[in-house]
């Protein structure tokens, strides 16, 4: 019966179309409602910016490769406690780590930035119980996780045989077994090739033995996704990431979506979400003539409503790269000679981890930084272009406020450019310096809450201040009528909310954690008739090839933390 009203704030809610009007937000029993009684707790948001809680569509925060990154990098914990920017304990548990924070720090840090939901970018199905253990120890925010399918032996065989219905049955079985939310694809085919030391760098390179191409895998999974009508589209990390000239692979990849239409009951309008597209927007053919392909990529994205992307912005930090693109990580280690970890996972996927320093004084890093921002600044529709850093690959998620600052202030971008040793070369290889566009708060709201929620098919619950949505709200110390001229104030405002509210409970007040209420594991529950052929195939592969028994594979109910299922009916 608890009621709350947030009064007089400048509200930015793209889902409802509210562009900075002064409006009251009413909350009852954890949901947004039309109005409340006069017994409601009052929060005065006069002169402040009010948005829905942030939604992070792609971040690596829970799971085995994230954790191996933590384990292998004690130096990532150098700044701790009150030493140089570490956090003194605010919540129930201590906070450790910079580029790969502990699960406790992850939840607290997102909450302090006004985020209330994060989507784990990649879950290796065999290791799903690990992901769920970490979700349990991540406070405050709701979390979902996407199992990876792009190097899965079952999918290879079903797609190769054009058995989409069987593939759909397998996908829905796996989503249930792992309590996953969507179809994630990473370096399709290439990570299976990497199990033999190989890769697939174009969408037509066949996978060793399985003889299927990345193009076929992607199209097969788009078709599967729409057959099932899942809330989200396929979420794709395409082939040839990170190499000069890769923008051509990216365009060829994006074009694969042209033959398909979104089919779902969740308001989703895209059939393909291309993640961290900064890493896929490189022109040139070597590091010497490396340059931005952001314009070419965004010309295509702008004219294709059925594509959404997230930026993957580089933040110019020392950080940790980690991805299921195993061969890319080996390649990166051969470039920078910093310690390399790798975990190939039977029948399913792989991963690699390599620390990386995005040094502003290295030309290539400066260009990467510029490309990430160009992606957003070229965008016509920011509902389809979401703000991420592919945490921690291009930078820690705690730098989102810094990225927002850069997007909202050309002065801030110039200031950063001016610190670069090779500023002139960076400018020559990119377009950023000549772009004077500055995003406004409404567009930032699109990039950081409304857009991701809609692309995930969850805008009735998240990223929205419309009636019926979860009462997840962030109140920032920014007066939209009198925006500060110093861009640093933008970064500091987005770094620490005045209030973060999660389902109607104040969790952050005056920049500090004040409550840790329960939170959910979101997953997609597909209700479809059992498929005897697929069940037979599953049993056979477990008996012969897996090293874990079938009955121990699906995550036991007792290990799922507060599950919240999004239900999908398939005839």
């Amino acid at each position: 019966m608890s009621e709350m009203i947030i009064k007089n704030g400048y509200v930015f809610d793209p889902i409802s179309g509210i562009k900075g009007d002064k409006k009251d937000i009413s909350i009852k029993d954890g949901k947004i409602v039309d109005k409340v009684s006069n017994k409601a707790e009052v929060i005065d948001a006069s002169g402040k910016t009010v948005m829905a809680g942030g939604v992070d569509i792609h971040t690596h925060i829970v799971g085995p490769k994230v954790n191996l990154g933590r384990e292998m990098r004690p130096e990532d914990k150098l700044f701790r406690g009150d030493f140089r920017g570490g956090i003194l304990k605010q919540g129930k548990r201590m906070e450790m780590g910079f580029s790969i924070p502990s699960t406790w720090k992850t939840g607290y840090s997102y909450a302090r930035m006004g985020y209330t939901y994060a989507n784990e970018a990649a879950m290796p199905p065999l290791l799903a119980p690990h992901v769920h253990e970490e979700i349990r120890d991540t406070p405050i925010i709701d979390v979902s996780a996407m199992p990876v399918f792009g190097n899965n032996w079952f999918c290879f065989e079903y797609i190769k045989n054009k058995e989409i219905e069987n593939n759909a049955a397998y996908v829905s079985w796996l989503l249930n077994a792992t309590k996953g939310i969507a179809i994630k694809i990473v370096n399709p085919g290439g990570t299976e090739a990497w199990a033999w030391g190989d890769n697939c760098v174009t969408i037509n390179d066949p996978v060793p033995y399985f003889d299927i191409t990345p193009a076929e895998i992607i199209k097969g999974l788009i078709e599967t996704n729409e057959y099932l009508g899942l809330p989200h589209s396929i979420h794709l990390h395409g082939n040839n990431l990170g190499n000069p000239g890769c923008y051509e692979t990216t365009l060829a990849t994006l074009k694969l979506a042209e033959g398909f239409n979104p089919k779902n009951k969740f308001g989703r309008e895209q059939v393909l979400h291309n993640t961290h597209i900064q890493f896929h927007s490189y022109k040139g053919d070597s590091w010497a003539n490396f340059e931005s392909g952001a314009k070419e990529i965004m010309d295509y994205v702008n004219s294709n409503k059925k594509i959404t992307v997230d930026t993957g912005c580089v933040t110019l930090d020392e950080t940790t790269t980690m991805t299921a693109d195993g061969p890319f990580e080996y390649h990166l280690n051969q470039l920078n000679h910093i310690k390399w970890a790798n975990v190939d996972v039977e029948l399913e996927t792989g991963s690699g981890i390599v620390p990386y320093i995005y040094d502003k004084n290295i030309k290539v890093c400066g260009i990467q930084w510029a490309i990430g921002l160009e992606i957003a600044l070229y965008a016509n529709d920011l509902m389809r272009v979401h703000l991420t850093t592919d945490h921690p690959n291009a930078g820690p998620f705690t730098r989102y406020p810094r990225v927002i600052k850069w997007l909202m202030s050309q002065k801030a971008r110039d200031a950063t450019l001016n610190t670069m040793k090779w500023k002139d070369k960076v400018i020559a290889a990119t377009n950023l310096a000549s772009m004077d566009r500055e995003l406004d708060l409404y567009e930032i709201a699109m990039m950081t809450r409304a857009g991701p929620a809609k692309a995930l098919g969850l805008s009735s619950m998240y990223g929205s201040l419309a009636k019926g949505a979860d009462a997840n709200i962030a109140i920032y110390d920014l007066d939209s009528a009198k925006m500060p001229s110093d861009p640093e104030m933008i970064e500091s405002a987005f770094s620490n909310t005045i209030y973060t509210i999660k389902e109607g409970v104040v969790v952050v007040k005056d920049k500090k954690i004040v409550a840790e209420p329960h939170n959910y594991t979101l997953w997609t529950k597909v209700n479809m008739p059992e498929n005897a052929q697929v069940m037979h195939d599953i049993k056979e592969k477990f008996t012969r090839n897996y090293t874990v028994n079938l009955e121990n594979y699906a995550v036991f109910d007792e290990h799922i933390h507060n599950p919240r299922a999004i239900e999908v009916e398939v005839a």
Binding site: R70, P74, R93, D137, N333, A341
Partner: protein, 441 residues
Amino acid sequence: MPKVIENVGCPYCGCSCDDVRVTVSDDGKKVLEVENVCAIGTEIFKHGSSDHRIRSPRLRQPDGSMKDITYEEAIEWTAQHLYKAKKPLMYGFGSTNCEGQAAAARVMEAAGGMLDNCATICHGPSFLAIFDNGYPTCTLGEVKNRADVIVYWGSNPAHAHPRHMSRYSIFPRGFFTGKGQKKRTVIVIDPRYTDTANVADYHLQVKQGHDYELFDAFRMVVNGHGNDLPDEVAGIKKEKILEVAEIMKNARFGTTFFGMGLTHSDGRNHNIDIAISLTRDLNKVSKWTIMAMRGHYNIAGPGVVWSWTFGFPYCLDLTKKDHAHMNPGETSSVDMAMRDEVDMFINIGTDAGAHFPIPAVKHLKKHPWVTIDPSINMASEISDLHIPVCICGVDVGGIVYRMDNVPIQFRKVIDNQGLLDDETLLNRIADRLDELNAQGA
């Protein structure tokens, strides 16, 4: 009617086998039969339901005898001593489930103490190498399905991981390895002619403590300098080194399993470090992975759980309560014991009384000693307080991490008959510490 329970996990070694079949009595209290398990696993399940299980905490009396007390009293005793201690150490966790390990983290953060696990005397040097040099590895199913060359270096699975060779590495027929052992080449590098060497194709009887030189020799060959090798390195002839290195270079998929032969000898982490470098070198010409043969069914667990909780896998200094510090050598259990820095010791899911060098045991015994463990063992028999708990896989379930960090979900097969599990016990100790901290503040 006796019940058959399938897909049971075995709580002994790092194989963490999950295909065990257990027949239990109708009343759910006794294990009648165990199948698919090695000889050691059989003993665990038998012992787990034996009439001799300790079912009540016991407190040492002034005359040296033990007196049964309640769990409540044991929790109070432990919490009070933790609260008063300046630098208490909780160590062990080879045989606790992850839920227990997470609860232990809560306890020692609240108490402001030291938190360490068996890796500190086991694969700790492997961690040190991983911190510097990374870890190119895979899950055991990749070995089963792909590997045609297997190296066991300083590892004797015939004795320490009895089903390893049959479940994962040498004998199984996997997807790309349909001919099983016939198409695999097995290389054992060990100063002893072990039972594992006995089933190998090659046994290199390396001079004990000189593995580093032999790794270096292999690296020379992989990097094209084999001709510059001396006639003999670490007791192995040059021709043999060249022959074996060629096999490794020409592998379709190779895996090096390593164990205490490397981590316990002179050089410790440097032995692992160069093994990792060799693996990385081999990936230039072939496909190779490396894997630590973790000893216990869930000794990978605390490393995993504490990494996500604190950012470090072992040797944790939580004394400041608001941040964690790790510095093996400084914050490692045996070193702290030898320097008399610990003023309370909790031995959990292990037996430091038997497995620490006895001088360390003597130092620790100068202070209050609690043992949290289902068994009568050396630690319990010198403890001030012995608190029995459930055995993971027998009377409590939970998640455990196999040696390749794959999480295995264990089930319980018999009723706990009043025994507490680690998670419940430790959470209650943590709750009590929270209360004491709030009062004392």
